[in-house]
């Protein structure tokens, strides 16, 4: 009997954010970052995106990055979920959640996690443009986006 593998950090279903923070009594700061599909890149009008991943490896690498963040900061909560498949404009491509006693750790660790996910994890973005063409993203060249 074959069992479908499930991955905690890679999802082919839409990601929705809740206004409810995780229920952790000690937590005083909770940061939620979401990366959104936008309709413009480098002056070209984008109609939609497709994300592809080497899923088992990407899932494991995100797990490792979250573990590293927990070692560097005193976190009460850390999670990251990345979408794969076709995404429309304004859909959420990735979320990173971090929670800690004070806000500083939550902010710093959140940035650390998303930066490493963007640079290291085998996930690729293909942009589809209004003129019918499409292109694989060349990788992370814009650090602050």
């Amino acid at each position: 009997m074959s069992v479908l593998e499930t991955y905690s950090h890679i999802s082919s279903s839409p990601i929705f954010v809740s206004s409810q923070a995780p229920d952790i009594p000690e937590m005083g700061g909770f940061v939620l970052f979401s990366g959104i599909v936008r309709n413009l890149n480098e002056g070209k009008k984008v109609t939609h995106l497709e994300y592809e991943a080497y899923t088992p490896m990407a899932d494991e690498m995100i797990r490792g990055i979250l573990e590293d963040a927990r070692k560097k900061w005193d976190l009460l909560h850390a999670n990251c979920i990345h979408r794969v498949g076709k995404l429309e404009i304004s859909e959420i491509a990735v979320i990173v959640e971090t929670g800690s006693i004070h806000r500083a750790e939550a902010y710093e660790s959140n940035r650390y996690i998303i930066d490493r996910v963007k640079h290291e994890v085998p996930i690729w973005k293909r942009e589809f443009y209004l003129d019918g063409s499409s292109e694989w993203s060349k990788g992370c060249v814009h650090e602050s986006h």
Binding site: Y54, V121, I123, W124, K125, W136, S137, G139
Partner: protein
């Protein structure tokens, strides 16, 4: 000996049907990169900036391939 290949994203444009390749005993990732470039010279620039993973772990150029290794060619990531 044969190794298995997995291509992703932009690399798939260059090697759509190549799932298996024969390498020599003692060949490393460095040699594999050469073989792939030779197979399809148009892939040189993307292969230069791609990472290689063997059985889901990133490896360096000096990693020695073994029979049945599953090698993934990973162009620069662009998640997020």
């Amino acid at each position: 000996m044969d190794i298995q290949l997995l291509f992703f994203a932009a690399v798939k444009d260059h090697f759509p049907d190549l799932k298996k390749i024969e390498v020599s005993e003692g060949d490393s990732i460095y040699h594999l990169r050469k073989i792939l470039t030779h197979t399809n010279p148009g892939s040189e620039s993307i292969l230069k900036v791609s990472r290689f993973a063997v059985n889901q772990s990133i490896v360096g150029d000096d990693f020695i391939l073994r029979e049945g290794s599953i090698v993934a060619v990973l162009p620069p990531s662009s998640g997020g």
